[in-house]
Amino acid sequence: MSVFDGLKFRKVYSPIHNLDPRMKFVYVIAIFAAAIAFYSVIPLLALFIFQIPFVLLARVQKQWLRSLRGATFLAAFIFLVNLAGNFFTQNYTLTVANVETAAAMTLRFVVLVESFSVFFLTTSPDHLGLALEQSRVPYEFSFAFTTAVRFVPVLAEEAQTIMDAQKARGLELEKGNFMKRIRNYIPILIPLIVSAIRRSLELAEAMESRAWGATKKRTNLYALKLHKGDFALLGIIIGILILTVYVYFYVPIPTVRSFFGYP
């Protein structure tokens, strides 16, 4: 469940936490776009390193590292699938170029995880809901979204308890062949799903008893406003986008392998 730890918000005050969630989201989208634009290791590595100051500034490096560690398995999977894909489609030859492409694809995934992790670690679910509302998203949708985000850690904790309860009844998750191992998760998934459904029904009742949707026009205690820091981030975002477009069209990107004399 360590992947979820990397998405769990903790209340800390830092320049990054105080930024407007809307601007942070635009930043994530910009990083996303830049990561999708490139296919090679060097620009993706640059994107990865570029974000580290944000992590340090927000003082969330510990949780951030944990989320990256949680993503290792998927990253390894992406690397192998890419490598195998190239291997089987290109006459069963393994070239340095293939390895580098696979590495780039993996790095792209890591960059995406990194930026999402920073976003969720530094944005409270309340602010996120507020941001959606102020972006004129209907309240029903923004509420559903924030609730989903809020329940991720709750579900993760519940999954842990269920796992403990079944282990106490002799369930061994790591036992058996591949199919058996998948089947081992049934005793964990069923209680988890049942309780999630039950919880959602209870939540609906609790909301209705507190007059949810009684007025069409809701007011908020807090309103989001853009500050100096947000405009600075906007500058950075525009910078990233311009640089991405410029590099994409006008700069020939050298490959890592060319430094070592491979074609």
Partner: protein, 275 residues
């Protein structure tokens, strides 16, 4: 026998839940672990079947250190019934639910069949054998969870908050059931807030506070100590409240048993009448 030697435990989040706990539970003992929320009760009992491993110190079950073996092999001797039955029920019928653990432990089909019948009978669930556990009431689900653990007949039984959400009749059934288990030589550890239930059972009481054991002894000595219970956010059992407030020098203060209280009060009344 359960041996806990100076156990410390910290969760990944950095919270230190146990700060040096030592405890010995002998075979055939009945122990109630009490204390306020967050005192570390559940964390401690999760060490008994290896679900949690101590960050420092040692936990041994019959001389086997829990760090040296798996939960599955410890579970054969240590049955753990979780607080919320919904965290474990998943099968289509009550019968299959009970068979789950037995299959995990590799029992033969005939043995499984016998054990299911035995466990259902023991907890009065025979009529629900083919019913889905999800169709049952809260109290019945709790009993199915208990049956599914009892079915493999563990020597040590741990019950986490067994009385929550149970009505009086079910609590009484549970109490008699625990007494019966104990008389058959099983070791029973319960984690609970339910002071009246503990007063009625009168087990050995281990009182925890902020990750440490603050008192360990007979129920009637610990549950009648107002200062000790005050700091642990536990109220005195009603009988003990009466006896501490009565201010009669000839009456003892450490009484929690209803029968004992009745005898003492009757004797006092009779003596006064005679005067």
């Amino acid at each position: 026998m359960l041996t806990v030697e100076d156990v410390h435990f910290s969760y990944q989040s950095g919270v230190e839940a146990l700060k040096g706990v030592s405890l010995i539970v002998k075979n055939g003992e009945f122990v109630a672990i009490m204390g306020q929320n967050g005192a570390g009760k559940t964390t401690l009992v999760k060490h008994f079947n290896g679900l949690l491993k101590p960050t420092r110190g040692k936990v041994r079950v019959d001389d086997v250190e829990t760090t040296k073996t798996s939960v599955a092999s410890l579970a054969r001797n240590v049955g753990f019934v979780f607080q919320n039955p919904d965290h474990q029920l998943f099968s289509e019928t009550v019968e299959e639910e009970i068979a789950f653990a037995l299959k995990n432990f590799g029992y033969a089909p005939e043995v499984i069949e016998n054990r299911i019948t035995w466990a259902l009978n023991l907890l009065g669930l025979t009529q629900y054998r083919k019913t889905s556990p999800f169709m049952l009431s809260g109290g019945e689900r709790k009993r199915v969870a208990l049956a599914s653990v009892l079915a493999w007949d563990p020597k040590i039984l741990i019950l986490d908050e067994p009385t929550i959400g149970q009505d009086h009749q079910q609590k009484e059934n549970l109490r008699q059931f625990i007494m019966q288990m104990q008389s058959q030589g099983r070791t029973i550890v319960i984690v609970t807030h339910d002071v009246e239930f503990v007063a009625e059972c009168n087990p050995r009481v281990v009182l925890m506070r902020e990750g440490k054991i603050v008192a360990d002894g007979e129920g009637k000595d610990i549950l009648t100590d107002p200062a000790l219970l005050e700091v642990s956010s536990i109220v005195l059992p009603q009988i003990a409240q009466i006896f501490t407030q009565l201010q009669v020098p000839s009456l003892p203060k450490n009484v929690i048993d209803i029968y004992e209280a009745k005898t003492l009060l009757l004797r006092l009344l009779q003596r006064r009448q005679r005067l």
